[in-house]
């Protein structure tokens, strides 16, 4: 086949032609070999047949020949001649008589060329018959090859048919396989061309034979890689370009011959050369620099980098001279650009305009010189404190104002603080802290400092944070010291004159009002109640008139002394003028009723003290006072003046009531005070009169099973009826009666527990323990005794304590709890979430249970704050391995909400109201 035809043939045709030609050649060869073998075998068969026939013929006709029965012989020969392949039999006897017999004629099926090719010829064999030494003639046997030729021809035709069929099937098979198989190949071809044309998103579906599928998968993978690489490259280029364009520094890149290859926008604006113009120019032309001071051309660092291969910085005082002649102070560095093999291919210079900072630095240096001069003039000492290290740098004037040499005080803040007067140090530190926290614009404190001579000098210290870190945290504080000792002395004298009563030395009205204002605000802020006692001496005028002003003044001073003697640290005793004194009692109690009682007590005490004998100028005198009490805070409108007026009013009411008495400003308040006093008396008797009762409120678990109850105390008052705990517990707590009441409750609960155990109830009782009770020295012993006496199982007793109880001596509280826990008693934190317990602290406690305050439960599930709090408490409890009791569960929604979030036990009206013990026992019986 000529080459150009072959070149034009598609792959399929080439394959078909080649495969068919191969099959044809192989088939023809096979046919040739097969036919050749057939011919050979036919020839062999003919020879073999000839031998056999001759031998057989001799024996089969011997009898006839010997007898000379030619008729039988002829018949016999005819019979023999009919055998396959025999063409002719000729018998010649001894006398040469001839008998001949011809075989069946077989027609030629094979073409002459085939017969000729086979080369089979008619074969003639001859044998002579000799019996007993006598010659009986000869036989001539001719065998025809025609049947063998025909047989071989038929076989050839059969083989040829099979060969043609094989070629046909082969053709068909190859065509089918290629037709199906080349489809993905064509797709692959198209995909490759698309990829080559730049369509990187080209992906091909997997099809065809496993090899093709692998090839397609490899193509897709390659396309992924190419696309990814191209994308990454584009992104990288974009990023680099964006970075180069957006960095705030000027950037010039050069090649190895110091020709500019790139100028970024900042560099363009600084040099005045645009990228397009600058590219290809020598860097010295574009980047002209000179020394700021000498104005001599400076060395461009590019050459140095090319020479050394290292990063090179620019000398200070370098000025870049722009194309238009403008000058910029710059800082600069240059670095080599290396290719992937590390070969240096150019240099990049990065520089920035530092004109402003250069100017500032110069200005700062000048300013510092001026400041030093000024400070010296102002007699100010300087200090500089490193907040992180605590280093404190002082100047000579700072140390000198205390009489120390500069290096006599160690340069650290601690050494300085040790010189500050201990009374002044906290305030100074507060002020410093306030400033550090950013709450004040500057630090300012006046404090005394110990001089080398051992006396104190007042110093005004001022300062300001001068350096902060990235998060705004102060790093450095710088300030001044000024000796204000002289000024302080003058100021103190002025103050004394302005705020103190010259006669008694007590704060005057002004100072008192100032302090009252302060305390009133504090009381409102802290929700603590205080009282203002207005004291008026009864009939002072008589003494004054009778004994003279000197004695009167003496009496007033003695009164002042007695008032001061009884005051607390925080109280203020003041003289308003004449015989009027005012005592300010701040921070008496959180509860205004308790504060009232406390105020009453103080007033009574003062009244008693002031009522004692005075010995004045050799004479004995008795004095009574009327005291008016006003409690504060009492409403938002209240002012110091109004409060003072109220106290004054109350005092007059006391006077009206017959003097030598105490009167509260509010009549109702007075009533309440009376009421409380009565209650206190009755409370004293309540235990003895067995007026207290225990009530129980059931606690259920998640499955609604009753697991225990909280013991609640009720006071069944003979006239007032059932008194709620909130009405008498605070009073009992305050008066200390809570200890004996708590003791009774604990004992009664223990007995009840034993009773329940005996009745076979597996229930726990939770008993509230008051702080006073818990703090009693013998509390642990007492609980031990009670449990022992009752025989109740400690494991069923849970003592409920409040967070507040643990805020005092933590170690002691934990020790007590641990001791009782060792007995088996459980502890529960009541009203959890209302206090301020730290979790790490709670963790140390031997607790087994938390009680969620009813205040949080009531908001469930609507109030998001309450819900969050409850969920948090449950999480905390789970983390700490504590059980949780929810109090005040009043509806199903609350119960479900708590259950869903893993609360263990529930208590509240939904599950059972508090009920007397007897009733409770009936319900569970």
């Amino acid at each position: 086949m000529p080459n150009h035809i072959w070149d034009r043939l598609p792959f399929v045709a080439r394959l078909l032609v080649t495969a068919c030609a191969a099959l044809l050649v192989a088939g023809v060869a096979m046919l040739y070999v097969s036919a050749h073998r057939d011919a050979h075998e036919a020839e062999t068969a003919l020879r073999w047949q000839m031998d056999n026939e001759l031998r057989g013929l001799a024996s089969s006709i011997a009898d006839e020949v010997v007898i000379g029965d030619f008729a039988s012989l002829q018949q016999n020969l005819d019979r023999q001649a009919k055998r396959t392949g025999i063409g002719r039999i000729v018998y010649r006897d001894a006398s040469n008589a001839v008998l001949e017999s011809r075989g069946l004629t077989v027609g030629a099926v094979a073409p002459a060329w085939f017969a000729g090719w086979m080369g089979l010829q008619e074969t003639t064999g001859r044998t002579e018959l000799e019996i007993g030494g006598r010659y009986y003639g000869s036989f001539e046997l001719t065998l025809s090859p025609q049947q063998a030729i025909n047989r071989a021809w038929k076989r050839l035709l059969q083989h040829l048919s099979v060969l043609l069929l094989a070629i046909l099937l082969d053709f068909l098979g190859i065509w089918l396989v290629l037709r199906l198989g080349l489809k993905p190949l064509r797709t692959l071809d198209a995909g490759s061309q698309a990829l080559a044309a730049g369509d990187f998103s080209t992906r091909l579906p997997l099809s065809g034979s496993p090899e093709l599928r692998r090839a397609i998968a490899a193509f897709n993978h390659m396309a992924d890689e190419v696309q990814g690489t191209v994308k990454a490259l584009a992104e990288s280029e974009g990023r680099v370009s964006a970075i180069l364009k957006s960095i705030g520094d000027g950037l010039i890149a050069t090649d190895r011959t110091m020709r500019v290859t790139y100028v970024n926008p900042i560099a363009e604006s600084l040099t005045g050369w645009m990228q397009a113009e600058a590219a290809g120019r020598g860097v010295a032309e574009v980047f002209r620099i000179e020394h700021a001071l000498t104005r001599q051309p400076a060395e461009i660092p590019v050459a140095r980098v090319l020479e050394t291969g290292h990063v090179v910085g620019l000398a200070n005082h370098t000025v870049l001279v722009a194309r238009d002649g403008r000058r910029y102070h710059i800082s600069d560095s240059a670095a080599p650009i290396r290719d992937a093999d590390g070969e240096m291919v150019g240099v990049v210079m990065v520089f920035r305009d530092v004109s402003e900072s250069y100017r500032l630095r110069t200005a700062l240096e000048a300013s510092q010189a001026r400041l030093a001069l000024a400070l010296k003039g102002a007699d100010l000492g300087l200090w500089d404190w490193n907040v992180l290290t605590g280093d404190l740098v002082l100047d000579e004037r700072s140390t000198g104002m205390l009489g120390y040499h500069l290096d006599a005080i160690p340069p650290e803040i601690g050494a300085w603080e040790r010189l500050v007067h201990p009374d002044d140090l906290p305030q100074a530190k507060r002020a410093l802290e306030t400033h550090l926290q950013g709450l004040s614009p500057q630090y300012e404190a006046e404090h005394r400092m110990l001089t080398k001579q051992g006396d104190w000098r007042w110093v005004l210290s001022r300062g300001r944070v001068t350096e902060r870190d990235a998060e705004g945290k102060p790093l450095r504080v710088t300030g001044t010291h000024l000796d204000i000792t002289e000024r302080k002395g003058a100021q103190a004298e002025i103050e004394r004159l302005a705020f103190f009563d010259p006669l008694t030395g007590l704060p005057n009205r002004r100072l008192m009002l100032d302090r009252l204002r302060h305390e009133l605000a504090a009381a409102r802020r802290n929700q603590r109640s205080g009282a203002l006692l207005f004291i008026d001496l009864d009939h002072f005028k008589h003494i004054n008139d009778a004994r003279g002003h000197a004695v009167g003044d003496q009496l007033l001073r003695e009164v002042a002394n007695r008032l001061v003697m009884h005051r607390r640290e925080v109280d203020t005793v003041s003289r308003l003028g004449g015989d009027e004194f005012v005592v300010l009692l701040p921070d008496l109690a959180g509860d205004i009723n308790i504060a009232a009682t406390a105020a009453r007590n103080v007033a009574d005490k003062l009244r008693a003290s002031l009522g004692e004998l005075y010995v004045l100028d050799g004479g004995e005198h008795y004095l009574s006072v009327s005291i008016g009490v006003a409690l504060f805070p009492d409403g938002e409108d209240e002012t110091c003046e109004s409060l003072l007026r109220h106290a004054d009013t109350a005092m007059y009411r006391a006077k009206e009531c017959g003097r030598n008495t105490v009167s509260f400003f509010e009549p109702q308040m007075q009533l309440a005070v009376e009421h409380r006093l009565a209650l206190e008396h009755e409370l004293h008797d309540a235990l003895a009169k067995k007026e207290f009762q225990l009530h129980l409120q059931a606690q259920h678990d998640r499955d609604g099973r009753l697991v225990g109850a909280e013991v609640l105390l009720r006071w069944n008052h003979p006239t007032r009826g059932m008194v709620p705990p909130s009405s008498f517990i605070p009073l009992a707590e305050e008066t200390g009666m809570i200890v004996s009441i708590g003791d009774w409750v604990l004992a009664a609960s223990a007995r009840l527990l034993k009773e329940l155990e005996t009745a076979g109830h597996d229930l726990r009782l939770s008993v509230n323990v008051s702080p006073r009770q818990f703090q009693e020295a013998d509390f642990v012993m007492r609980v031990r005794e009670i449990l022992s006496e009752s025989g109740a199982s400690p494991q069923r007793l849970t003592l409920e304590i409040t967070e507040g109880m643990l805020m005092g001596d933590a170690g002691e509280a934990i020790a007590r709890m641990a001791e009782l826990e060792h007995l088996g008693v459980h502890f529960s934190i009541d009203d959890f979430g209302t206090g301020y317990s730290s979790l790490s602290y709670l963790k140390r406690l031997p607790l087994s249970e938390l009680k969620i305050d009813r205040g949080f439960v009531s908001g469930l599930p609507r109030d998001p704050d309450d819900a969050a709090l409850v969920v948090t408490i449950l999480l905390i409890a789970r983390q700490m391995g504590l059980e949780v009791v929810a109090e005040g569960v009043e509806n199903e929604a609350q119960l479900e909400y708590l259950k869903e979030r893993g609360c263990d036990h529930f208590q509240g009206y939904l599950l059972g109201r508090p009920m007397p013990v007897e009733e409770f026992l009936r319900t569970i019986a």
Binding site: A62, D63, V66, I67, G68, D69, I131, G132, G133, R134
Partner: protein, 268 residues
């Protein structure tokens, strides 16, 4: 001249018929070497003539087709008229007819064969049929005859138990029994008869007949002749003594006598 005569006599050919006792090829293998030897010695050409069956042989004899004949059927009433003249008789013992049965047969006496099936070679067999049957007829013992075709054929049937007893040639029987390991009991035996004689037709010149007789008779004295006889005997496993000796017709008178008196009517 004698030589010449002899030579001319050599050119003369004589047929030598042989009674069909065996297959034609076996017969030819046996006789052709002997006839070749005798022909050379006697200066004539003896050509072997065989028929397929004994009756055919007898018919040929009766027609006088053979110049010489080796047969004992020349004494039959049908063949006797050709007046073949005995010139030679085989050496060795005489033959006799026997009625035999198997050694373990219950048959003890000929009378035991009454109405039994008794086998015979053929109706042409002299010692095998004519003699025993003649005796049975004379004894008045009627049997049911059956024919085996030739001697060994009926002996085979006897061995197979298809016949109770058989009429046989005593010599052939002995040879057969020896070869086949067969034990048999002789119920009856005839008087001895010489075995098959060689006879010449009256048309054969007396000199030729004499020359042939002499050649046959001297064969056993010539080592070559003796070898030919031994080789041929080996073909049919014939026991010695081999060869022929001169005989006179008187020695075969008992044949003629038998055929004249026999009660057997269907001898062929």
């Amino acid at each position: 001249m004698a030589l010449w005569f002899a030579g001319s006599a050599l050119a003369e050919s004589f047929s030598f018929g042989v009674l069909s006792q065996r297959s034609p090829v076996l017969t030819a293998q046996y006789w052709n070497p002997i006839l070749d030897y005798v022909s050379r010695q006697a200066g004539v050409t003896l050509t072997l003539k065989i028929t397929r069956t004994t009756p055919e042989s007898n018919q040929a004899i009766a027609r006088g087709e053979y110049d010489f004949v080796y047969s004992n059927t020349i004494f039959l009433p049908t063949t006797a008229p050709q007046r073949y003249r005995v010139i030679l008789r085989p050496r060795g013992e005489t033959i006799s007819g026997q009625i035999v049965t198997l050694a373990d047969s219950p048959v003890r006496e000929l009378t035991d064969l009454r109405d039994k099936t008794v086998g015979f070679p053929s109706r042409a067999a002299f010692v095998g049929y004519a003699l025993p049957m003649d005796h049975l007829l004379r004894q008045g013992i009627r049997v049911v005859p059956t024919f085996g075709g030739n001697q060994e054929g009926i002996m085979g049937q006897l061995k197979a138990g298809r016949v109770t007893a058989a009429g046989v040639n005593s010599q052939v029987m002995r040879d057969f029994a020896a070869r086949e390991g067969l034990h048999y009991r002789v119920l009856w035996e005839s008087q001895p008869y010489h075995n098959l004689p060689i006879s010449a037709h009256p048309r054969v010149a007396p000199k030729v007949a004499e020359a042939v007789a002499r050649a046959f008779a001297r064969m056993r004295d010539d080592p070559k002749g003796m070898k030919v006889l031994a080789d041929s005997a080996a073909i049919i496993k014939q026991e010695p003594p081999y060869g022929f000796e001169a005989a006179s017709p008187a020695e075969y008178q008992n044949y003629l006598d038998f055929y004249r008196q026999t009660l057997v009517q269907d001898i062929e």
